[in-house]
Symmetry: D2
Subunit: 377 residues, 4 copies
């Protein structure tokens, strides 16, 4: 693991997720740019002393030099956005598969180079769009793929948060500080942090691609350097339209991502607050409540449930699903086996490139007086 020391947030989440299924063991880490923090964090995680590194380059070199049955199988990169690309490239060069927090890189350009490297090496990359990991999101995707609702016409996706309602970065809060700093976060603030999740969810669930957009991107809290609020109209490649809303100044909101998709025959609704439920609505019959863990789900959904219906699974399980599918795929490839379609269903570099393009395009549109901006990659 690169990054994710004791003072970080998402690193701990990754560890909870990768531990869960007992398929992965964390054995090495360059957990902080601060050597003392790196050391203390490594010890707290029971790493062996000689595998606690203070910089990722040393780690990747030393691990690559170890025998195959001892060295790491993949590396997880949970640093701020501006330190994604270099360690990822180096890891791939050294032969390690890669798990990376989103957004995949600092710029679209970097994302494309990462793609080229992956094609060159044949290795795998997992991009942690957690919301893709929920069984009921997969159920939604599958039902739409199978045409259950007819042609898709309308998509509403929203991601309201409230935690940046105040000038939090001024207080020195670590998370707020780097996420609102253009040097560390990139061109976008909220659009990169959560807008990409909403965008990814829309494309993942519908199986459609955005072809143009029209955005309104705002800095609401005085003094902030990056956007903390925005919305976009979307046009999709099948002619459908959509509305995307993402904000971090919706005071009082937690983290309730929600998507609604309407086709000719009915609609689907999923929201993070009630992760184990998918509402399926019909023109002329009662709405159905599909539930995680039941017997009637699609195999892509069932494969990502661990417990029977009525035993709520949440964010960590969704996260663990990404890891599990990635690990099943990597292991199959190592063993020369063909991964099952259900295992291959995790977000990777393509989703990363789309996400970086989303950031570029939504910011460009936000600054434009012309209504529609073509979605260029």
């Amino acid at each position: 693991m690169i990054g994710g020391g004791m003072d970080a947030f998402i690193g701990a989440v990754h560890r909870l997720a990768l531990n869960m299924d007992g398929q992965v063991e964390l054995v090495a880490g360059a957990l902080s740019v601060n050597p003392e923090m790196a050391l203390a964090s490594g010890r707290q995680l029971f790493l062996e002393e000689d595998r606690i590194y203070t910089d990722y380059k040393t780690m990747l070199e030393k691990e690559a030099a170890m025998p195959a049955d001892k060295r790491i199988d993949f590396v997880t990169i949970v640093t701020p956005n501006f330190v994604h690309f270099d360690p990822a490239m180096m890891a791939l060069d050294k032969g390690f598969n890669v798990v990376i927090e989103k957004p995949i890189t600092f710029s679209l350009e970097e994302a494309k180079r990462l793609k080229a490297k992956l094609e060159e090496t044949g290795l795998s990359l997992l991009l942690c769009h957690t919301y893709n990991g929920y069984p009921m999101v997969k159920q939604a995707r599958r039902m739409l793929q199978q045409g259950v609702l007819g042609k898709i016409r309308k998509v509403y996706v929203e991601y309201p948060q409230g935690w940046l309602s105040t000038f939090l970065e001024k207080t020195g809060q670590t998370q707020a500080a780097w996420r609102t700093d253009p040097k560390k976060s990139g061109k976008a603030g909220s659009m990169g942090d959560i807008g990409t999740h909403a965008f990814n969810l829309a494309e993942y669930v519908t199986g459609l691609k955005v072809t143009s957009l029209c955005s309104n991107v705002n800095i609401v809290v005085e003094g902030r350097m990056l956007d903390d609020d925005g919305a976009a109209f979307l046009k999709f490649d099948n002619g459908a339209t959509g509305v995307l809303m993402a904000t971090q100044i919706a005071a009082g909101e937690e983290n309730n991502v929600k998507i609604r998709v309407y086709g000719e025959k009915g609609g689907l609704e999923w929201k993070h607050e009630d992760t184990n439920t998918l509402l399926v609505k019909w023109l002329d019959k009662p709405t159905e409540i599909y539930r995680a863990g039941t017997g009637y789900l699609d195999s892509f959904a069932s494969h990502n449930c661990r417990t029977p219906a009525g035993h709520p699974e949440g964010f960590l399980e969704a996260f663990a699903n990404l890891y599990r599918n990635f690990v099943l795929t990597v292991r199959a490839k190592i063993n020369g086996e063909t991964p099952k379609p259900e295992w291959l269903d995790f977000p990777g570099v393509e989703e990363g490139i789309r996400g970086m393009a989303f950031i570029e395009n939504i910011i460009e549109s936000g600054q434009s007086d012309t209504k529609w901006t073509p979605f260029t990659v």
Copy 2:
């Protein structure tokens, strides 16, 4: 009552609403342009034979000629949009107060002339924006007026319906037929029918005025002549922004109008599906569930509740609230008394003009390549 025969929808709703509180008696009607329908409808409603009219002009003339204690006090106009203006003008000229379905007229120009006539006559007009009549909507408005959430920053308002998901007007369904016909409905379809409700709700609850907008307005169902789907970014006069979504092709949706408003300190959420509840969200303490009929409500909310908490009131009660406040105001004016502020809280010609301007502006923006269209009245 003008319009609202046995074959109409909204006329019956008006009657349910005006009957409820026992303050109003329907005594005369020109209920249909079809004389037989007019007669049959009048009889079914127990009108006296000589007050069942077959055209509104005759009705207004004959009623105006009756003694003051016998003639009608106000007239309700529930005809399609293109037959709003003429009877309203004539009624005012004859000295009758007016209740009118929304949108107020066929064009913005007509709405302005109606306003002038109202100022000239000193009479009252009720415009039936039903959602204004809900006690918890009034509670929301009052809390924002009182600054409980600090400065307003973001508004989300949505109105998803699914009933026009198919080419229903082709089947001869009466409601669908006139609402999708530009000759009867005006420039807009869904934006006039439900977009105006969403717009009105946003302005009513926040007390803000929209100053510019950027819209995406669509005809989704092939063959349809007017828009059946749309969305708009909004800018408000205090610098807040908003997103408005209204659609009639969200297959499987009923009529779940919803508004969320976020200020510096927290947010409010109200949805039609759960009309008796207002969620009040806070940055740093638990969300509160405000409920209709309780003892802690603002007087503007309490005044519009008929039963104690836990006795759900709905659409008809909200509608009846409009009528009750209108009637209390009209009666006070007749009696030379000063209406209470709570009574005066019903939508009128100003809201009608704003609504007509919304239709003009959103359609104009929808056809424009420029992002923002100033909101002109």
Copy 3:
């Protein structure tokens, strides 16, 4: 109307309900035992002076002496429990149909005598078990009648209120005062006031009859004279069992009556808080959300909806449904027509007798050391 003056609660509710459909006009009243209150209340309701009475006996006599086309068609009795029987008997003797608040009488014995009188006169009686009037309750009943869920096995019915959590009757609050006074309310407090509603709902929805029960009835608030809390195990005539819970000391609860019924193949759930929804649960497929106002409902449910899906109807509409069905039936009988089955679906004297028996039996069981008490009528 007998009782229901300006200082009462339920009388106003009755008026809202009977006004709503424009089928009934309140023309006479003995609205209070206090003559001044009776007079003032009558005037407020626009009654003609000579039909404002100060006692019910005079009213019934004078009205009976009027010509058939002028006199009242039925009388509504909304006095405290101990003044139900006498006016009801006299009204029937005078040839008037009767509407009566529940519980029907002060004792089971009186209820039986009322039944005999109804049989003798051939007149109709409506007992206001409002929860029977909800369309989705009727939908539930019909689905169970049709055997959709197989044999019924388990019934949970609950009625939690919180308004008697304090010693409210001590403060002089009118409602609390008579409802907790054995001389005015009868043998039971909460079991009569709301327990009977829960019991009635269980029998109405399932179509089953309780054959024995085991209760725990409590006085929780110190100083109170009648029960304010209770629960009962139920045995039904088909072998099913149930649990009934009714309390008025559930601090913080409003009025959320709820029933769940389970058969061999699935279950039904309806709660007052979400009156327009019926959940239908299945062993092996998604739960379905049945909604009021939709096209797929049973005719007994549809007949009791006034507006399309998505326009919430509530307590007053349910109440008005009782009145409407009663009036449709009475009018049909007057006109020598056969009432439709949907019209006849309102609670009457049989339900009244069952309710009085419930009070007697649950109180007896509450005082018994033996577990089961046969349900005797």
Copy 4:
């Protein structure tokens, strides 16, 4: 781990839970009474060959003989009820702490002997009442301890499941087979399987003890040997009363444990379906929605959250909370440190004894004609 092979349910859940926090590693197992299954299961879990055992006695002996830094620290027993006591006693004798599925033993007598053994050895025991592990359950408990709602008056606890609605044990389904077999499950079926959870939750949340009960226990599905449905009235040691409902024949229900507690000033409501929410209701102000992961929670609740508000945690996290607190306590004791109060907050042998007594008492009451049965331990 004893039991929990590839063909079992709860063993896998234990492993997910103990893995999660990276504090525990599964190193040895006697995973099945079937040697082949034991072996295959151990290999699948990456156990070293020499620590895959085919019977628990061998395991406990061999592990006890290992050096302290290598041998297991505690043993998890996830066998059917009738194989809890012997391995637990032996483990304690060998110096191992014990984790045990509920119900703790086959009989109350065994539970008492286990308690004596724990006192003798000074070791720790975790009993897996998972619902205790939820942060919002702990929040509820703490608020009641602190008297926020005043004296507790009423408790409703329910546990409806539907999975035994058919004669499932006849089909050979493993779970159903042993849970409905008196030889493996004990005196009770559903009352032991889920009734104990409901009972435990009631005592845990309120901090009260049941002193007598009156039950109705049923076998609903024909041919079944143990109860599959039941309910009980409860009396608590402070004078409060309660109703407990637990059933496995509520067709269409999943696993929605729910508890409501009412005090003099308000009420609390928690349900498993919405695990991250606690409703706090008040007599005279809006209901509050307390949420997991927020900043305003009690330390006993916060300590059991892993992610910020809006990141749903579920059943596995609650289970992992039990393990984490147990492990923190065991490690502190090993290190000679004083465990924090928050760590000690996990269910143990006392809860096990209460649970076994519940089974004995509810079954006895179910068979009795007398209403109340004193709760004897």
